[in-house]
């Protein structure tokens, strides 16, 4: 990414959208909307002083909402460009309230609340669509209860859990456990507030709250006694709740029994009939990394076929089974239900024994489908190209990179679901097709004359 950012022949336009394409191969005119980021790109050094002081917490979508970021932010630390942006939906100033702290903190003077979208016209010879894919929303599959069960997560969420710079710093803490810890933190804050209030009463009356409360009769309350008693009562109930939660939290461990469910939304006629191609491999990879983090971790991968198709992939799969406690189970999981301790229970058919089994896990990871990119229809209309029956840009087997309009090419998951090496190879191919479009050869000159 950095190499691309530094390349003298590449101009990057982040946070921008193509709105209109005119012309034809060799001489396209493209209108691009550069969206207002409310930060001057030429001035921002990406130092991050603004985010440190910004008072508004927003769910961090980069971490799949498992942590928070500020209203002024960069998508992630090594992002290109490092220029920050203000989230207009959450920024206090842009929502008409008072703030402007970032503007005061920015030594480069880069914050510009008045910034407007800019329209840029580009003249290009060829266009490559590499707009990727969208992760399928597993909430659509009612029987997997993704929206209800905290310990059912997607592979992308799990990927963030495994990351050292992710929301759990590389520990596989279960979302339900993290929720309890957050609750404890909040109760502790309240407890502290109450303790301070109680201390004021204790100082004033010269005795401990416990002593006072023991002899307190509601019917004979004098002065501020009713208030004192009220606060103490509140304190006791919070304390009891806290003790209970803390006791519970003591038993928490990282997730050690993992279940991976393949083909969530793909190879499923209700959603997408196709195979997403790369999910078997990322489930195996995630199970291997989880095992590297903690050696007791065991993983079960539930799938119809394990499609380890690629150089060295099948060997990797076998190694995962032999060395990383992974078992592969041929089964399509029917349902996920809640069990004790928020442990998800999988209901599936053991075909070998021909019985329905229920098996409890600490955490379930869903290998969600590679769905056509959001807005692909609109983009296809702007580019004037067709989409195929699966929702990806249409190409032909003879010219696998060429869309239905000359001079416009496609690569990566905008073409069809594929893994990294294939995307990289295709990107080179699309580049080569684009260069051929803009290269003047004797043949082309002959055609023109």
């Amino acid at each position: 990414m950095l190499d691309v950012g530094r390349h003298p022949n590449i101009e990057l336009m982040a946070y921008s959208e193509v709105e209109k394409v005119d012309g034809s191969a060799g001489c396209f005119k493209v209108r691009v909307r550069r969206k207002a980021r409310y930060v001057d790109e030429s001035k921002c050094t990406g130092c991050g002083a603004c985010t440190e002081k910004c008072p508004t917490d927003v769910l961090d979508l980069y971490n799949e909402s498992h942590s928070t970021r500020k209203a002024i932010y960069s998508w992630f630390a090594q992002g290109i460009p490092s220029t920050h942006a203000i989230d207009p939906d959450h920024c206090r100033v842009l929502q008409g309230k008072k703030c402007g702290i970032c503007q005061k903190k920015c030594e480069a003077g880069a914050i510009d609340f008045e910034q407007k979208d800019k329209i840029v016209e580009l003249n290009v010879g060829a266009i490559i669509a590499a707009n990727g894919y969208t992760v399928f929303d597993p909430g659509k599959i009612a029987e997997y209860r993704y929206n209800d069960l905290p310990n059912v997560v997607t592979a992308v969420e799990f990927e963030r859990f495994l990351s050292a710079s992710g929301p759990t710093h590389g520990h596989i803490d279960r979302p339900s456990d993290r929720a309890v810890r957050r609750q404890i933190e909040e109760l502790e804050k309240e407890e502290n507030k109450l303790l301070k209030a109680l201390a004021r009463f204790e100082e004033k009356h010269g005795r401990t709250s416990a002593e006072f409360y023991q002899n307190y009769l509601p019917g004979e309350a004098e002065g501020d006694q009713a208030q004192w008693a009220g606060k103490y009562g509140e304190y006791l109930s919070i304390k009891a709740k806290l003790d209970e939660l803390k006791k519970k939290a003591e038993t928490f461990t990282t997730a050690k029994r993992l279940a991976f469910i393949q083909c969530v939304g793909s190879r499923d006629l209700r959603f997408y009939p196709f195979c997403s191609g790369f999910c078997c491999m990322h489930s195996i990879k995630e199970a291997i990394i989880a095992h590297e983090h903690e050696n007791e971790t065991t993983s079960v991968i539930f799938g119809m076929d394990i499609r380890a198709v690629g150089k060295g992939f099948d060997e990797y799969k076998v190694r995962g089974g032999n060395k990383s406690n992974i078992s592969y189970r041929r089964s399509r999981v029917a349902e996920i239900v809640n069990g004790p301790n928020s442990n998800p229970i999988l209901v599936y058919e053991d075909t070998r024994e021909q019985v329905v089994r229920r098996e409890e896990f600490d955490l379930v990871i869903l290998a969600t489908a590679c769905a056509p990119a959001k807005g692909v229809k609109e983009l296809s209309e702007i580019l004037g190209i067709e989409i195929n029956r699966f929702g990806f840009f249409k190409t032909s087997p003879d010219n696998p990179l060429d869309t239905t309009r000359e001079g416009i090419f496609v690569c990566g998951c905008a073409h069809s679901p594929m893994d990294i090496p294939e995307s990289v190879a295709q990107a080179s191919s699309a580049a080569s097709r684009a260069v051929q479009t803009v290269t003047v050869t004797p043949e082309k000159l002959l055609k023109i004359s």
């Binding site: 950095l2 190499d3 950012g5 530094r6 050094t45 990406g46 130092c47 991050g48 630390a77 090594q78 992002g79 290109i80 460009p81 490092s82 050292a164 710079s165 190879r267 196709f274 195979c275 191609g277 076929d305 394990i306 499609r307 380890a308 198709v309 690629g310 150089k311 060295g312 992939f313 099948d314 060997e315 041929r330 075909t351 070998r352 021909q354 195929n388 699966f390 990806f392 087997p397 003879d398 696998p400 990179l401 069809s416 679901p417 990294i420 090496p421 294939e422 990289v424 190879a425 295709q426 080179s428 191919s429 580049a431 080569s432 097709r433 260069v435 051929q436 003047v440 050869t441 043949e443």
Partner: protein, 557 residues
């Protein structure tokens, strides 16, 4: 840096940048204290701690510091030089400092990661490492990159779908191509195939492409020819090709390997006899020439693959089996077609759709247990159904084995011509499995198609087109620029023992018979340092790693 009488006239001004790498480094050692310590080292005039030195802002800080503080040495203490040295050195160059005056210290992989939980130890070690790096940096010398000319012509080895596509794309980009095919006819494996998934004739398709390529000006297509010798280096390879008529010598700038693979045909495998037990390739031929005759067909997937002797999955055989069973079923609707498989590898959109359609046509798919392979005997196949957990039997009059594509028997020979590696299965080994699938580690040589790993014809074509832009990225430049970190042999002290010659893995050293000393061909040298550590007279040195530079580093411990 100006030099006068071999002495540094300029004062040393070292800038040290300590990277937190988020919490990767700062989480396990005290970066602030290391930064403060670095400021006390001799020659150091500027220090800075960054959250991510490799981020755009981190790079900006290095460049600004070079300009504002007149730095003539930069030391970055962060992660692995393997991934980040080029970035930092290049950034220094952009700011006007000679990039060879940059030194990198690894305090992540070699410090914070291996001493997790021992903050004091890790911090102390990081200080030692930084001190050593600074000491070495003070001894560094400025160097100029090595430059070399480029021949804008490409040798493509192999005239199948991948090689033809590569040649087509290269010529389309305005480059000259020398396309060499061993067989008498261009087309490769596709010549023998029946129909493609689309229903089009594979032979017609490939012949059409071959004809287009053959008639493109700028492409010299040599059939029935073999590359016999390759010498030289990126930009300037000398190749010799034996054609049916003569031996020709050519100069090319880059080489593309598209030599393909061959389908495994193993006598006796599941009773293979070429008659009623055949391979998919043999089935293709029968379907093509109309000699196919069978009413009960059983196909066995992973025949000779995904086992202990041949561990890999050959990627294309499942789609081939589905395609052929559909062709049979469409032509002979009453035929019984069973596919025995382990995992149906119908990845992606179109292939999975084929599988749905095949089931719709009434083709039956059953899973067999790899621990108990199917047994083929006269008129039937017995196998252990691993989903139902029971033994089943299918009657049949034809068994088709889906055997893998295997590396060509002459692949090692082709690899040896260019000294490029092959993997344990005999396929060519790319530079990086994920990020550089079409490159070899050796510069200027590329790979595409089934020579690398089995691919479908569409994927082979995609990769063939893809190598063209990899080649273009090199040959469209005016000249080749390469790192100056190469070996040097002092002619005055070299005794010509040729010890270095034997240890050089890149053939970069030759013995000059006139002067009786060994000489380094800079453009071939990759800077491994084998010669420098072998030379008994200390005549061979590696620039940037000279004895005095390394000793300065060691003495600082």
């Amino acid at each position: 840096m100006k030099k006068k009488n071999g002495e540094n006239t300029e004062q040393l001004r070292v800038g040290v940048f300590i990277c937190d790498c988020g919490s990767n480094i700062a989480g396990h050692l005290d970066c602030k204290s290391v930064t403060e310590y670095a400021a006390t080292l001799p020659g150091v005039v500027f220090t800075k701690e960054n959250l991510y030195t490799c981020s755009e802002s981190g790079i900006g800080e290095i460049q600004n510091a070079i300009k504002a503080n007149n730095l003539n040495r930069v030391v970055v203490a962060s992660c692995s030089p393997r991934t980040h040295h080029p970035l930092f050195a290049g950034s220094c160059a952009q700011a006007g400092m000679n990039p060879y005056l940059f030194e990198m210290v690894n305090i992540r992989d070699q410090c914070s990661w291996v001493h997790m939980g021992k903050r004091d130890v890790a911090t102390a070690k990081a200080k030692d490492l930084v001190r050593m790096g600074v000491a070495k940096s003070t001894m560094l010398e400025p160097q100029d990159n090595i430059e070399s000319s480029l021949v804008r012509k490409i040798l493509v080895i192999g005239g199948g779908i991948a090689g033809l596509s590569a040649a087509e794309a290269l010529a389309g980009m305005g480059l000259e191509v020398l396309l060499v095919e061993k067989e008498r006819q261009f087309g490769g494996l596709m010549l023998d195939l029946n129909l493609l998934e689309t229903g089009a004739s594979a032979k017609d398709r490939i012949l059409q492409l071959a004809e287009k390529v053959g008639s493109t000006p700028g492409i010299t297509a040599l059939a029935g020819s073999k590359v016999t010798e390759i010498t030289g280096y990126i930009g300037n390879f000398d190749v010799t090709v034996q054609t049916p008529e003569e031996k020709i010598a050519e100069k090319v700038g880059c080489i593309v390997v598209a030599s393909g693979a061959v389908p495994l045909i193993e006598d006796g495998l599941f009773g293979h006899n070429g008659e009623n037990v055949i391979t998919q390739m043999e089935l293709e031929k029968r379907l093509k020439d109309g000699s196919f005759k069978a009413s009960k067909v059983v196909m066995i997937q992973c025949a000779g693959a995904r086992n202990t002797t041949r561990e890999y999955c050959s990627r294309i055989c499942c789609a081939t089996a589905v395609k052929n069973s559909m062709i049979i079923k469409r032509k002979f609707p009453l035929a019984d077609v069973h596919v025995l498989y382990r995992d149906m590898q119908m990845y992606g959109d179109e292939k999975e759709q084929m599988l749905w359609d095949a089931r719709g046509l009434g083709i039956q798919f059953d899973v067999y247990d790899p621990e108990k392979l199917p047994v083929v005997s006269e008129g039937r196949v017995v196998f252990h159904h691993s989903v139902l957990g029971e033994t089943k039997e299918f009657k049949c009059d034809l068994v088709v084995l889906s055997t893998p594509l295997v590396a060509r028997p002459d692949a090692p020979e082709v690899a040896a011509l260019m000294r490029v590696p092959t993997d344990k299965n005999g396929f060519f080994l790319e530079a990086h499995a994920k990020l550089r699938p079409l490159d070899f580690a050796a510069d200027g040589i590329f790979v595409c198609g089934s020579a690398r790993y089995p691919v479908t014809s569409v994927e082979a074509r995609t990769q063939g087109l893809g190598v063209a832009s990899r080649v273009g990225a090199i040959l469209f430049k005016d000249k080749l620029v390469k790192s100056a970190i190469v070996a040097e042999i002092d002619a005055a002290s070299c005794v010509g023992c040729m010890g270095c010659l034997n240890v050089c893995p890149y053939d970069a050293i030759s013995f000059n018979r006139e002067t009786n000393v060994c000489e380094v061909k800079e453009i071939l040298c990759k800077g491994c340092g084998n010669c420098a550590s072998t030379c008994p007279s200390h005549s061979a040195i590696l620039r940037g790693y000279k004895p005095e530079q390394l000793l300065a580093q060691i003495r600082a411990i």
